[in-house]
């Protein structure tokens, strides 16, 4: 066997590289990046993770907050107009009776799903990289589901009646909901999902609220955080139940999150409209939801970790793992697209073929179709390369494009399928109105505002869990670079 001289050291061996590039000061190819950078202990973690809460609001935060508030104003004006004048203010009309309202609903709900995936499913799979980002992602879930909930309620036209149209509410009319409708299932799924996410988030938050209470320097902060910490004293007898409760909530949230988007997809799939009536919808919707949700986590996290100085706990490792999940779910979504088209062709059904091979790629909304395909299929392919997974710019731009692409996916499913259905005399174009755009724009701003408030008042990283992880990583001892590499 020929021996060669290694470029990095003085040894001679069969391979060109005998010492790893790691020894030469670079990360070796197969060793994952650290989960927590630098040498940290409970004290430094406390300080660095809670620092953002204790410092006075920065100018950047205030500027964004004001923009968010202004946008929230736009949202509430649009809601007021919708309620005062009716949903005729929206662009929906027959045949496109469902449009922006449902597109935005599905888009926001989908975004929320990444939070549950990170906090619950990755917990069950014992993925340690979830720990620094779960709080952040769960908050995103809550705020996204709030935005989503607005649309069906507004779409009822008279939201003050929605309570007895949607929930089994005992009114003197003795009229009860029809439980055979997927729309009814949706009400139960989404409200259960919101409550579960909220309680799961809050349970995880209690130890951190206690740590804020105990590190506060003003009496006002101590009382305020003290109320929300409920008197938590970190008792071992409480932790004993807490661990199980947290795990069980994760275990329940996991099938729940799958059921929620499955049921959302049934809103479409249980009808007979070509483009909706497909069995691939549930898995394809769930994958799409996770795909867009991770994209949104990434979009928010990349700037936040920089400005909140959290790079030591949200490392390149976390971003890389999220990019991998996006790549995987993106491929599942792509498979969903392929299968839809295949099933349409294989069915030989004229109307199915018309939607998938005429209306979508060649119809008046073809631009939306190609935007969807470019953003959801082409863009994530760059995450095959390590360079793109570790570069914050490619990650950020890629994730924004995925969010755009996923919005257009729902646009294509809803509008393109509806605007040309069975009878050509029934065909018509759909044009959104300024109220539609204001609602979409407004919810984005409202979401951002809620998120900014969250970042300011609550530690964006689960302090208690990171301390535990840090302790676990140090217990391994020795090979610090390899720690956290295995679950």
């Amino acid at each position: 066997m020929r021996t060669r001289r290694c470029a990095g050291c003085t040894k001679t061996s069969a391979a060109t590289i005998c010492c790893t590039s790691w020894e030469r000061g670079r990360a070796p190819p197969l060793v994952p990046l650290p989960l927590i950078e630098g040498s940290q202990d409970d004290g430094t973690l406390n300080k660095s993770l809670n620092a953002y809460v204790w410092q006075p609001p920065q100018r950047g935060w205030l500027a964004l907050f004001l923009i968010g508030l202004a946008g929230t104003g736009v949202l509430f004006s649009a809601i007021a107009i919708t309620i005062a004048k009716g949903i005729g203010m929206w662009g929906n009309n027959i045949p496109v009776g469902w449009a922006f309202g449902i597109i935005n609903f599905v888009w926001w709900i989908g975004i929320g799903h990444a939070g549950t995936l990170i906090s619950a499913i990755l917990l069950l799979f014992q993925q340690k990289w979830r720990t620094s980002i779960n709080r952040f992602a769960e908050a995103m879930t809550l705020f996204a589901v709030m935005q989503a909930g607005l649309f069906p309620i507004l779409h009822t036209g008279r939201p003050w009646f929605a309570i007895y149209w949607l929930f089994p509410y005992p009114s003197t009319n003795s009229i009860w909901p029809q439980f055979k409708s997927p729309l009814m299932w949706d009400v139960f799924a989404v409200s259960t999902y919101f409550i579960t996410s909220l309680l799961f988030w809050y349970l995880g938050l209690i130890p951190d609220l206690a740590s804020l209470r105990d590190s506060s320097s003003s009496k006002r902060a101590r009382i305020a955080y003290g109320i929300f910490a409920l008197g938590w004293r970190g008792s071992a007898r409480h932790w004993h139940h807490y661990k199980i409760a947290y795990l069980l909530l994760a275990g329940l949230a996991t099938p729940l999150v799958l059921s929620v988007h499955t049921i959302v997809s049934w809103d479409f799939a249980l009808s007979i409209l070509p483009g909706w009536h497909t069995t691939i919808f549930p898995p394809y919707f769930v994958a799409g939801a996770v795909f867009s949700g991770f994209a949104m986590v990434m979009t928010l996290m990349i700037p936040a970790r920089r400005y909140m100085k959290l790079k030591h706990v949200i490392t390149a490792r976390h971003l890389e793992s999220m990019a991998k999940v996006m790549l995987l779910t993106g491929l599942i979504v792509f498979y969903g697209y392929l299968m839809e088209h295949f099933a349409a062709w294989y069915s030989g059904n004229l109307y199915e073929e018309h939607v998938f091979f005429s209306t979508r790629p060649r119809g008046p909304y073809a631009w939306a179709y190609f935007t969807q395909m470019f953003c959801n299929v082409v863009v994530p392919q760059m995450f095959w390369t390590r360079w793109a997974r570790r570069n914050v710019w490619t990650l950020w731009i890629g994730s924004v494009l995925v969010n755009v692409g996923m919005w257009f996916e729902r646009f294509n499913i809803v509008v393109t399928s509806l605007h040309q259905d069975f009878i050509p005399s029934n065909w018509a174009m759909y044009y959104p109105t300024w109220v539609d755009f204001s609602l979409l724009f407004g919810t984005i701003c409202f979401f951002g505002t809620l998120f900014l408030v969250f970042l300011k008042f609550i530690p964006a990283v689960a302090t208690s869990e990171v301390k535990e992880l840090n302790h676990e990583l140090h217990e391994g001892g020795g090979m610090s670079e390899l720690e956290g590499a295995r679950p």
Binding site: D41, D42, G43, N46, P168, S174, I175, W176, P177, Q178, F179, K180, P182, M184, W185, F188, A189, S191, T192, I195, T196, L199, F200, Y202, L203, P207, A210, S211, R213, D214, S215, L230, G231, W232, R233, G234, S235, A236, R237, H238, W239, H240, H241, Y242, K243, I244, A245, L248, L249, L252, P255, L256, S259, I263, W266, S464, E465, K467, E468, H471
Partner: protein, 176 residues
């Protein structure tokens, strides 16, 4: 008048070991306080299996039964709607809401069962918080505490706490 002896540790493992020794020596009313759950502490305190799963299961089963009954009663008894001559009671179409209600009630019972039942929270006062230094229990220190109502037992317990390695020992009294 409740009294608590408090001992502070800087290392989690030392804290777990100390609890184990104190329990074996027969010290009653023991508890530990830490910023995150400590590995091996359940064992050291010899805590019985948590009953949270039973609460969760009960909640889940009752929720699912309740959800199903609600749909069955409302759609086939209280207000039957004829849609395309399908039977008013549809077993398969009741499944999604049955599942969702099961999850909902299970989640609510886990959360509120833990907070109100197992943790006995919220509470505005606990004697341990009389000690200002105890605040590090949620930050970066590990504490053990032992409750006693007997004032004379305090010096003896404090001595035991020092023996097992607590580097800061003091006692607090409930303020009435």
């Amino acid at each position: 008048m409740r009294r608590f002896i408090l001992g502070e540790f800087t290392e989690p493992d030392a804290c777990v070991e100390a609890v184990r020794r104190l329990r074996e020596e027969g010290v009653g009313g023991l508890d530990a306080h830490s910023p995150y759950p400590l590995h091996g502490m359940d064992d050291a305190l010899a805590l019985p299996r948590s009953k949270v799963p039973i609460v969760a299961l009960t909640g889940g089963v009752l929720g699912a039964l309740g959800g199903y009954t609600l749909q069955w009663y409302l759609n086939s008894k209280a207000y039957p709607i004829n849609v395309g001559s399908r039977p008013p009671h549809g077993f398969w179409t009741n499944i999604p809401i049955t599942f969702e209600s099961g999850v909902l009630i299970a989640v609510l019972s886990i959360f509120f069962g833990s907070i109100f039942g197992f943790f006995a929270l919220p509470r505005t006062y606990h004697p341990l918080f009389e000690s200002e230094r105890f605040r590090t229990a949620s930050l970066d220190a590990y504490w053990i505490s032992a409750e006693t109502s007997d004032e004379d037992a305090v010096p003896e317990l404090e001595k035991k706490f020092r023996e097992v390695g607590a580097h800061k020992v003091h006692s607090v009294v409930e303020s009435v």
